[in-house]
């Protein structure tokens, strides 16, 4: 009985590899150096001429990262990006990396640098 319970408990907990937003920021800072939330906010709001359909992060995530966004093409609702409003944001390093890759390409037509990622994450965490 005990063994069965242990096995089931293991099965149920395995996928949770969650980190805190601060741990994710620390790992980015370790690559990039000190992060600036102010620069991160500039990146969030900057209009880019390179974007094909979305010219800024705010195009899908809106001017207010605490508010729900909407995908410019599919119109699907997107949960808020700021961890203060959506608690699973910036808790899965692979997910964060995947979306930086996609969305920086989408808006800036290039990858974001480690510095930009650190700044952006610092800004999101700073939103209260």
């Amino acid at each position: 009985m005990k063994r069965l319970v242990a096995m089931i408990a293991l099965l149920a907990t395995q996928p949770a590899a969650a980190e805190t937003p601060q741990q994710i920021l620390d790992a980015l800072v370790a690559q990039a150096g000190p992060a600036s939330a102010a620069r991160g906010e500039q990146l969030y709001r900057a209009k880019s001429a390179a974007g094909k359909t979305a010219n800024a992060c705010t195009a899908c995530h809106t001017d207010n990262a605490k508010a729900a966004g909407q995908h410019v093409k599919t119109h699907k609702a997107i949960d808020p990006l700021a961890p203060v409003a959506q608690k699973d944001r910036f808790t899965d390093p692979a997910k964060v990396e995947k979306w930086f890759k996609r969305n920086c390409q989408e808006v800036l037509a290039r990858a974001c640098t480690p510095q930009e990622k650190a700044d952006f994450t610092a800004y999101m965490i700073s939103i209260k």
Binding site: V5, Q70, H71, K73, T74, H75
Partner: protein, 174 residues
């Protein structure tokens, strides 16, 4: 039981949660309800339900999914590429539950019947069945801000990510 910290109640919840995942794929929905089988586990909704509705595999034939899953780097102008073996695992689920799979229910077969065999449509909203089912939705409704496009199933079918398109679960946003 109290002393071990695990009660019968939460033990059975765990068993149910584990069992439900394995069961989901084998479950054949009743033919008269608008319920489509969905891939088991969270991967499909996480990977294919992030930018839009996690479309039920039974809305398109396997050849459509094979083509789409072979062109993910340019997916409707978007980079939706996936690492192996994840891409292959999703493709396998899509094929298993596609509209022309051997286990397709009546509704899925009807969808399939309206798709010419020599085509591999990529847009669900372009298929005959979709048009037929929505021909009473007036044009101005599709243009509402929260809907925007017919492909935004989940804006109206609130449980679309679970494959549920039944009448009682439709809420058309204002």
């Amino acid at each position: 039981m109290e002393t071990s910290g695990i009660t019968w109640k939460n033990l059975s919840t765990l068993i149910l949660a584990v069992g439900a995942t394995a069961f989901a794929i084998s479950q054949a929905p009743a033919n008269d309800e608008a319920i489509f089988p969905m891939p088991a586990g969270k991967t499909y909704v996480e990977e294919c339900g992030s930018c839009h509705t996690a479309f039920a595999p039974g809305l398109l034939p396997a050849r459509s999914w094979r083509r789409m899953m072979g062109e993910l780097a340019n997916h409707f102008g978007e980079d939706a590429s996936l690492e192996e073996p994840r891409r292959l695992a999703i493709l396998k689920d899509l094929e298993t539950l596609a509209s022309d799979s051997p286990q397709a229910n009546m509704r899925m077969r009807r969808i399939n019947g309206a798709i010419p065999a020599n085509t591999a449509p990529q847009r669900i909203a372009d298929t005959g069945y979709f048009k037929y089912m929505h021909d009473e939705v007036p044009k101005h409704i599709w243009q509402r801000k929260k809907i925007g496009t017919p492909g935004n199933c989940i804006a109206c079918h609130t449980r679309a990510n679970e494959g549920r398109y039944g009448e009682r679960e439709v809420r058309i946003p204002q």
